[in-house]
């Protein structure tokens, strides 16, 4: 952490800096700590779930509280932990990898973060205001429309606000990657993480609006008495499932594609080899994204869409295994014959391959319609998606954090603690979830707060809970590692891993303008080319000149705060008239701040050439 610089200033100035920042590197820190906080919260919920299931007919929590726990665990982990952590890594790394000084829309980047944070807080406020949502993270109607209290209302408003932030982030990365690449950085020279960020942003752009509409319809039904899902007035409950999964299936690729990019960069860096099959990797990513939009109904096999629809969606689903397989083999081939160094980053990547492959295989199993009638809503499915989401996304985030921590904070994470985290988490993960495949096959359903004795489920659940404690231990070691590194971690040089891409050509952490002079890119792995065939450093593509930078702004915070207040208004106008003041007041704050942004000129500022010459190289 750049504590040395920040400690000179007062804490107030430090806070104000982060509240108003539009710098993608600081926004990355915010995403990282915001997402990290929600990850711990979701992890805590998971631990209570596992402790409840440690023995048959346990009475630690009530059935209702258990419903809230698994709903909030799923929703928090997907929307408030995994995605923000990925967005944090994207923000930290992608502009550097493509040789840009900032993102295309710095203001919107900041707005995206604050919307996510306030959306996340909104969702979790439900714990304090009469109970959390309890209809599952999928919030199927009519369970969600008839759920008493305001829990599901908080789900609707929280996700609506956070989802808007994610959509804005996606558009920002699309424009950034298309318009802001350095000279010579053609599309087919971009590092894989930038590529997968690009494709993920396309998924975000076309998937999230379906959730937006789904949430609006649910909101109208719950808060304004409409009849979208009310069968007595002609409504149709299946519409929710379609809208949710038209969003929800691309969402799982939103979670997994970025980490495919992270692993590609990690394997090639630590094998000291060009990524095997770069072009195939890019096109496999595009193909996965494309197919990802055509398979949503495989979550609905048991709804009764009919054999033709089910078969088509099953075939499309199985087809995704092909590009994914291409990727697995390309990673293996990248390591083949490479000069491999195994550190904690690489451990996560190596652990990912078998774990994710198991998750992929069970994926093909649940894609087979007939068999899915057996697996549906059992622990087999729970095991499957934890193998892909934890074994893929969480492992990938951990690999990415260990890899880019020096670039983000200027210090290298402790290696011994990194390895301890990996091994305890890895072992704990397989202890927890491998056995759940068999629990599911033996008929244990998801989302039940108790199970009966002597059904063959006792030992399996006990093992699973023990595994969860191993994972929790690993996470705690990682937290200690973060603190230890911030206090007395080894200082990182610009290029601690003998890297290949542009982020390793500048200081760790980078100056706020990133590149003093925009680099000239001569091929894939530009830094590696300069190391092997050039002077060992980048050739500038422009003379030293003034650098134009965007101004900080407090408006994104205020816009998000306004929506947060209005969210409470929407929820409570159902039973209290005073809530309208919150509704209109909050919307007024948001709209006025948007208007100020629109009407007040903001030209940014210039860093004069002389200042740049004065600064250290």
């Amino acid at each position: 952490m750049s504590m040395a610089a920040s400690q000179k200033r007062s804490f107030g100035a430090f806070l104000w800096d982060y509240l108003t920042t539009v710098d993608h590197k600081k926004i990355a820190h915010l995403y990282l700590f915001g997402g990290g906080f929600f990850f711990l919260l979701g992890g805590l919920e998971a631990m209570i779930i596992r402790i409840q299931l440690i023995k048959p007919e346990n009475d630690l929590v009530s059935a209702g509280f258990y419903n809230e726990l698994f709903t909030m665990h799923g929703t928090t982990m997907i929307f408030l932990a995994a995605m923000p952590l990925l967005l944090g890594l994207m923000n930290a790394v992608v502009p550097l990898q493509i040789g840009a000084r900032d993102v295309a829309f710095p203001f919107l980047n900041s707005l995206g973060f604050w919307l996510f944070l306030f959306g996340g807080i909104m969702l979790n406020m439900s714990w304090l205001f009469g109970g959390a949502p309890d209809a599952g993270w999928t919030s199927y109607v009519p369970i969600s429309t008839t759920s008493p209290g305001h829990g599901v209302d908080f789900y609707v408003m929280g996700l609506q606000i956070a989802g808007a932030g994610t959509l804005i982030g996606g558009i920002n990365f699309l424009a950034t990657i298309i318009n802001m690449r350095a000279p010579g950085m053609t599309f087919m020279r971009m590092p894989l993480f930038s590529w997968t960020t690009f494709i993920t942003s396309v998924l975000i752009l076309f998937a999230f609006p379906a959730l937006t509409i789904g949430l609006f319809l649910l909101m109208f039904d719950r808060m304004f008495g409409t009849a979208f899902f009310d069968v007595s007035l002609g409504g149709n409950a299946i519409i929710w499932q379609h809208l949710f999964w038209i969003f929800g299936h691309p969402e799982v690729y939103i979670l997994i594609l970025p980490v495919f990019g992270i692993f590609s960069d990690v394997f090639s860096t630590f094998s000291k080899k060009r990524l095997f099959g770069y072009t195939a990797m890019v096109f496999a990513t595009i193909l996965i994204a494309f197919l990802g939009f055509m398979v949503w109904a495989h979550h609905m096999f048991t709804v009764g869409l009919g054999p033709v629809a089910n078969s088509l969606f099953a075939i499309a689903t199985m087809a995704i295994a092909v590009p994914t397989g291409i990727k697995i083999f390309n990673w293996l081939a990248t390591m083949w014959g490479g000069s491999i160094s195994i550190n904690s980053t690489m451990l996560w990547a190596l652990g990912f391959i078998p774990t994710f492959t198991i998750g992929g295989m069970t994926g093909v199993m649940v894609a087979s319609v007939v068999a899915d009638y057996q697996y549906h809503d059992t622990y087999f499915v729970v095991a499957h998606f934890h193998y892909v989401i934890v074994g893929g996304t969480v492992f990938g985030i951990m690999a990415g954090l260990h890899h880019w921590w020096p670039k983000m904070f200027g210090r290298i994470l402790n290696e011994a603690m990194g390895k301890l985290t990996f091994w305890t988490f890895f072992i704990g993960f397989h202890l927890t979830f491998f056995i759940q495949h068999f629990l599911g096959l033996m008929g244990m359903p998801r989302r039940y707060w108790v199970f009966l004795e002597n059904q063959g489920l006792d030992l399996g659940n006990q093992i699973s809970t023990v595994g969860a404690f191993f994972m929790a231990f690993g996470v705690i070691v990682f937290l200690i590692n973060i603190v230890h590194t911030a206090v007395k971690g080894e200082k990182a040089e610009a290029d601690p891993w003998d890297g290949r891409s542009l982020e390793w050509t500048i200081a760790s952490p980078p100056p706020h303008y990133n590149f003093k002079q925009t680099p000239l890119v001569r091929g894939l792995d530009p830094l590696w080319i300069e190391k092997t065939e050039g002077k060992g450093k980048m050739t500038p593509a422009e003379p030293l000149g003034d650098i134009h930078m965007p101004n900080s702004s407090f408006l994104p915070f205020m816009i998000s705060l306004g929506l947060f207040i209005a969210g409470f208004g929407f929820i409570y106008q159902v039973d209290h008239n005073w809530a309208y003041s919150l509704l209109f007041g909050g919307m007024a704050i948001t709209l006025v701040c948007m208007m100020i942004r629109s009407l007040k000129d903001d030209h940014g500022h210039h860093i004069p050439k002389e200042d740049l010459e004065g600064e250290a190289k």
Partner: protein, 207 residues
């Protein structure tokens, strides 16, 4: 410095909306935004098509829709799209006053459309008791058409804000992209209306 160039350019380029990096980013980013909006409306259309016969013994589309008014509304909105094209044409010729004039006409036509829509909704509610809550068809109808109407309202506020804000200064490379992205937005809601006219009203009459 580029700073002054964007506010007081020596030569006004042919496409002032895309002359700066900020302008190019806005142009591209806004197209992507419209891509997301397409999915947004597609979801609403899908919902509407699924629920359009679910009238729950309430009024059907065939009973309440009056094509005369809807046709006038269609003409108002299509014409407003055309006038915004004229406005952009004058923007490219660096003729600020004519641009403002044509955008002003666009705004008037948009207000005409919005007024008609408000009248239409009021008519349905008071004459037929056809509301957001009366049937699934009603919910789907008001959600789809209302979302479009909300977009028109937001667009009008945006346009009027832009015109008032820039009334006393000329066109420059900072505000040209703002006008241009507005015109993209306006065309988009026009296209959406063409689909609403077809799917909601024409299919409602014959279906």
């Amino acid at each position: 410095m580029s700073h002054d160039q964007s506010l007081n350019p020596d030569i006004m380029p042919n496409e002032p909306e895309k002359a700066t990096l900020e302008g190019k980013n806005k142009f591209l980013g806004f197209w992507f935004f419209l891509g997301g909006e397409t999915v947004l409306f597609a979801s609403l259309f899908g919902t509407f098509i699924a629920l359009r016969h679910s009238t729950a013994d309430g009024p059907t589309g065939n009973e309440i829709f009056g094509l005369e008014l809807v046709f006038i509304m269609t003409m108002l909105l299509l014409t407003s799209s055309l006038t915004s094209v004229y406005a952009v044409y004058h923007m490219r010729n660096n003729d600020f006053n004519k641009m403002q004039l044509w955008f002003g006409i666009t705004a008037l036509l948009g207000i005409g459309f919005l007024g008609s829509e408000i009248y239409e909704f009021t008519h349905y509610i008071t004459e037929y008791g056809f509301t957001f809550r009366s049937s699934a068809f009603g919910s789907a109808f008001y959600a789809l058409v209302g979302f479009h109407g909300g977009h028109v309202t937001f667009g009008l506020a945006w346009l009027i804000g832009l015109m008032v804000r820039n009334a006393k200064r000329r066109l420059n490379l900072y505000n040209a992209p703002k006008y241009y992205t507005f015109s993209l937005y306006w065309h988009f809601i026009d296209v959406i209306w063409v689909f609403i006219f077809t799917v909601v009203y024409l299919m409602g009459k014959v279906g």
